[in-house]
Symmetry: C2
Subunit: 251 residues, 2 copies
DNA sequence: TATTTTTTCGACTTTTTGTCGGAAAAATAT
DNA sequence: ATATTTTTCCGACAAAAAGTCGAAAAAATA
């Protein structure tokens, strides 16, 4: 486990609260917690691949692409390893050289897209300072990314998340990262005085994640409402407005 | 502010004059849409069991109970049919007499609890008239029921829902029922003037379901916050207050 | 008690997963 | 270039799990 500061409550499985109190004195921190967080989530090692030849990297990509297609089409539980291998144009035994089981494969498939999402968010959010701007961008980009990569989203939202959490996988950590960003920004919103300070940040984060995810899931299942990007953005806008209103009403 | 419609369905334009015991002898009993809905979701046929002997009914219960335990403990994908059969104290081939596959079994396991939840809600909500009361009860009871039947909830929330939606199962319909109740009450809240009329009821329902489900899922994964009933109730209370505030601000 | 119907299960087949040694391909050394 | 070593790939096989079926056991009925 990583170094923990202060008393260690048994919150080991929860996203660690990032330090928020230390940098009160510096007007402009050299590397803000925010940048550090973005840095961290973008740099998670994807997969300790020990393969030497370029050929192998190509094969791995073929496997992942094939698995995404087949999983999204048939569902993970119904697909057979042999199906994925055939789709990838290799033998089953070769696939076993790369992944030791279907579960192992399934947990690896969503990783690269997730990393890509974090990376594109990091680029897009540069320059935005307020918690509201950052949150709005994050949530609407989530919805938009799901729309644009529907197979991936279907796999992640409907099949893997949240059941992936039972196991200690790289994917688990990456999905935790997703929530940590929200949590960080909720805390920023509180310190900006925009969000209610007397509310549990975890609850506020859950509210945001839950609402937007629900919109995404509904779209994946029924393709409704038609425009997912718009629906996700509206939901985020609505939630944030209500939350700010709540914060203002209390002081 | 109120919808004016000439005919079609009277979707609770007014606070429901609940049937009570007034006009019992009319040809068409004054069963309100609300009562009809509750009636419908409570009476979904559970499973067309054609078994004749009592012994079979016991065996079926043993299978379902065993499956719940094993699925919750090992996860559906990791459990073998033989494990469930052993836990139920029967042979695998006997289990196949009852369920044609693991998937078939998995989709049947949550049904009885779901029916029980609907039934107990129906009893508890009797007498409550306003959309707020009904919604609060529904959402907090959802959280409480998940706490009290954690194995069942783990199976349903983390493993089956929402992936069950891809197939046409009885469980699919039952889970749809869950959302239909929320949607109905959101509409009632709008017609009462408590919720914003210019918002998509589906979006409002998604917001409520998403937020509370997120709390339940987090608890199932991390047992945090400690008190799920309280957390679910608080989340519901908070969301409803914000929604009513939103409605009042615009009205 | 005899007969019929229903339920159970052991033996079996089929399907899917997973392993392994060596062939094929690529990288490296001579 | 050719030989040698390393890496990747795959066919043949073994292991595990799913799924079938006929007949025995149990219950219901005559």
């Amino acid at each position: 486990m990583m170094a923990t500061k202060g008393k260690t409550k048994n919150l080991s499985d929860l996203p660690e609260p990032l330090s928020t109190q230390a940098d009160e004195r510096t007007a402009h921190p050299p590397l803000s917690d925010w940048d550090a967080l973005l840095d961290e989530i973008s740099h998670r090692p994807k997969r300790a691949t020990e393969r030497k030849q370029d050929r192998s990297k190509r094969t791995e990509q073929q496997i992942l692409a094939a698995a995404l297609r087949v999983f999204a089409r048939d569902g993970i539980s119904r697909t057979r390893i042999a199906d994925v291998a055939a789709e990838a144009g290799i033998s089953t035994s070769t696939l076993y050289e790369y992944y030791k089981s279907k579960e192992d494969l399934a947990y690896d498939v969503p990783l690269s897209h997730l990393a890509e999402f974090f990376e594109s968010y990091r680029n897009a959010v540069a320059g935005k300072e307020t918690a509201r701007e950052r949150l709005m961008l994050y949530l609407s980009m989530s919805a938009d990314y799901a729309r644009e990569h529907a197979e991936w989203a279907r796999l992640l939202y409907l099949e893997i998340w949240p059941s992936v959490f039972v196991s200690e996988t790289e994917l688990h950590r990456s999905i935790d990262d997703f929530s940590r960003v929200i949590l960080f920004l909720v805390r920023q919103g509180i310190s900006e005085g925009k969000l209610a300070a007397d509310r549990d940040p975890y609850e506020t984060a859950a509210l945001l994640v839950g609402g937007v995810n629900q919109v995404i899931i509904t779209w994946l299942l029924y393709r409704r409402p038609r425009n997912l990007t718009k629906a996700g953005t509206e939901m985020a806008e609505r939630l944030l407005s209500m939350l700010e209103n709540e914060g203002a009403g209390r002081g």
